[in-house]
């Protein structure tokens, strides 16, 4: 493959990751093109890019998943490369293929590698033939084969979607009686979510850790590993808190896992940035899947290695060679802040950012698209900010994170900052008692402390009486997510924000 220079990069994504990619491209002297849906015309990533193109209506299917519209935008803007970010089209082989067919560089692995690894059943086979341990399991989704597997492996077992991700199509089956129903439900959910109803079975591990290895592969066949991350703290299979390196692993286990990840990546012909995910159970580790893209939690690796993974991705795409990484330094922790109300069973929250304060200080990084006036709309993922803290050791990183979360303030959109702060401050997190059951073991049915509720009630009463934040504001009743019916384009956040300032505080 010939080295090709990238001059103009289109980012086929939105939110914090689009902003983050724009920043790295800019320091490399690469021009950036943002794309945006009707709901995102005033979004931060649009303002940050050198050029921006509308690609369709607010619903993801009409815009950020609309391959034709994105390719057209790339052509019109003269982009010579496309970065898919994470989510959306980032792991769709048909997108990677369509991009390359247009003579545009796709920032990611080749389509066929992505296709092989994206199918969990196929990826499992690659792992098995590369000698990488996998969770005992069975491909077969039919009831009889499932019964046989479950009888030999023992209950509970896990039913998963072959095309799955994010916990969708996943079911734990505790006993034989529930097997048939679970198989049907998982297949139906997988069909609805991924258009592919194939399922497979795995032995359910009682208290595993989720540990993953960051990989970088170049076009010349070299693959290197940039340490590991622990992402065990999850709620409903969604990661909440991640850290690097994974604490308390035996050095031998860590090395074996990194070696397994490299073997796998080489066997698959991997190129670009990717992640091999494992479950760790005692002294054993089992391959889960390869994520053929940049991951949400990539900043913790960047902080301990002092690198920029987006820059690495772009260099790899331009034909440069990857080098063995330097020794990692210290520890880094990331907390995801989601627009969900932890006081109401994590129900999605939408609205407009009235006021925002972001933490700062040594070792503190914030990746977010939030700004005053920004709209959190119902169409997209609820991730609105990532706080990442680096320290000389885990305890310093943790202390910095606790302080940083204390500084975080977002008025107008309910979010999970207070919840993750309690986790960070908790004793089990402090001693790194990590497992994927962490939340259900230590924070089941979380609700805010009465003290915090009282503080909030006092603030509400003061605000209602004009004693806080100035006089009562009239906002025309529109401080809500962009109205679904009238479409967000005709409904620029700035119009209604203007009312806040006009009637609100002088």
């Amino acid at each position: 493959m010939k080295p090709r220079k990238i001059k103009r990069l289109l980012i086929a994504n939105r939110g914090e990751i689009a902003l983050r990619i724009i920043r790295s491209a800019r320091v490399m002297g690469i021009e950036t093109v943002a794309v945006y849906s009707a709901a995102d015309a005033a979004a931060a990533h649009v303002a940050a890019a050198d050029d921006a193109r509308p690609i369709g209506a607010a619903e993801p299917a009409a815009s950020y998943l609309n391959i034709a519209a994105i390719l057209e935008a790339a052509h019109a803007a003269g982009a010579d490369a496309i970065h898919p970010g994470y989510g959306f089209l980032s792991e769709r082989p048909e997108f990677a293929r369509a991009v390359e067919q247009r003579g545009i560089i796709f920032i990611g692995p080749p389509a066929e590698v992505m296709a092989a690894l994206g199918d969990k059943v196929a990826a499992r086979h690659i792992a098995i033939s590369a000698g990488v341990p996998v969770v005992p399991g069975s491909d077969a989704g039919d009831l009889e084969a499932a019964r046989q597997f479950a009888a030999s492996a023992g209950y509970p077992i896990l039913v998963k979607a072959a095309a799955g991700g994010g916990g969708r199509g996943m079911r734990v089956v505790g006993e034989a009686a529930g097997l048939a129903t679970a198989l049907e439900a998982a297949a139906r959910e997988a069909q609805a979510a991924f258009g592919d109803g194939r399922i497979f079975l795995e032995k359910y591990l009682a208290r595993p850790r989720h540990v993953e290895v960051q990989l970088l592969g170049d076009q010349h066949g070299t693959v290197v590993a940039l340490g590991d991350r622990d992402c065990s703290i999850q709620r409903r299979h969604q990661k909440l808190i991640e850290e690097a390196p994974a604490p308390g692993l035996e050095p031998v286990l860590r090395e074996r896992m990194a070696a397994a990840a490299l073997t796998l990546a080489r066997a698959a012909g991997y190129r670009g940035a990717g992640t091999a995910e494992f479950l760790v159970d005692g002294d054993n580790f089992y391959f889960l899947e390869v994520n053929a893209r940049l991951q949400v939690e990539h900043p913790v690796t960047e902080l301990i290695f002092g690198c920029d993974l987006v820059v690495e991705q772009l260099r790899i795409a331009m034909g440069e060679r990857v080098a063995e990484p330097p020794a990692a330094r210290g520890c880094a922790i990331e907390c995801r802040i989601n627009a969900e109300d932890p006081a109401q069973d994590f129900r999605p929250a939408t609205g407009r950012v009235i006021k925002l304060a972001l933490p700062a200080g040594p070792g503190v990084r914030v990746d977010t698209q939030l700004e005053a006036g920004a709209e959190v709309a119902p169409y997209y993922d609820s991730l609105i900010a990532k706080l990442i803290c680096h320290g000389g050791g885990r305890e310093q990183a943790r202390a910095r994170m606790a302080a940083a979360l204390g500084e975080f303030m977002l008025l107008g959109v309910r979010n999970t900052a207070a919840f993750v702060r309690e986790i960070i401050a908790s004793e089990p997190f402090a001693r790194a008692d990590l497992s994927t059951r962490f939340i259900e073991e230590h924070f089941p049915r979380w609700s805010p402390a009465d003290r915090d509720l009282h503080d909030a009630l006092i603030a509400a009463a003061l605000a209602a009486n004009g004693m806080l934040g100035g006089a009562a504001a009239a906002d025309g009743g529109t401080n809500r997510g962009a109205s679904a019916a009238d479409g967000a384009a005709a409904h620029s956040p700035w119009t209604t924000l203007g009312e806040f300032e006009l009637w609100g505080r002088r």
Partner: protein, 177 residues
């Protein structure tokens, strides 16, 4: 004044009893509380209470009162005095969308009698499914939206009429409240 959290039935009675300079006296659900309040340049204030201090921000809009207290963000609604009476003994006279989103499924039909905690509707927003439950026993009078439709925050989705007398039915909070 009576306040409740948006999307939650529980009501709180909060009164500002007195404010003199920084000194503040309040009553929450009958319990008297003393605090100090210092305004900050950015529109927020520092609340000193029980030996602690927390930075607070607030904004009242027509429909809601938004609050940030430390890293916690809240949305309250002021409860009108007579709303409870006007519902004719129903736990809730209607079900409104707690957030904008897509109405995925409707699990009841007009004329159905529903019990407290029974699932009524499934909404999808931010790639997550949220099930809405009946707050109390009632009869579904009308369904005001169709499956597959995008609905706005606050849109009324189901209207109830009173359930026939049923001694086993009781008013209760929906699961997860």
């Amino acid at each position: 004044m009576k306040l409740k959290r948006a999307g939650d039935a529980r009501e709180f009675e909060v009164e500002i009893v007195a404010r003199e300079g920084a000194a503040l006296r309040l009553r929450i659900d009958g319990e008297e509380i003393a605090a100090e309040l210092e305004a900050a340049a950015d529109g927020g204030a520092t609340l000193r209470i029980g030996g602690r201090h927390v930075r607070i921000y607030g904004m009242r809009t027509r429909n809601a009162i938004f609050v940030a207290a430390g890293p916690a963000a809240w949305e309250f609604v002021a409860v009108e005095g007579r709303a409870g009476r006007a519902r004719g003994g129903l736990a809730a006279a209607e079900v409104a969308a707690p957030m904008p989103g897509k109405l995925l499924r409707i699990l009841v039909a007009e004329g159905d009698a529903v019990a407290a905690g029974q699932p009524l509707l499934v909404l999808e927003a931010m790639k997550m499914e949220t099930t809405l439950y009946a707050e109390g026993a009632a009869v579904v009078k009308s369904i005001r939206a169709a499956a597959g439709a995008m609905v706005d925050h606050g849109a009324v989705l189901i209207e109830f009429s009173r359930a026939p007398a049923d001694p086993s039915a009781r008013e209760s909070d929906p699961p997860g409240a």
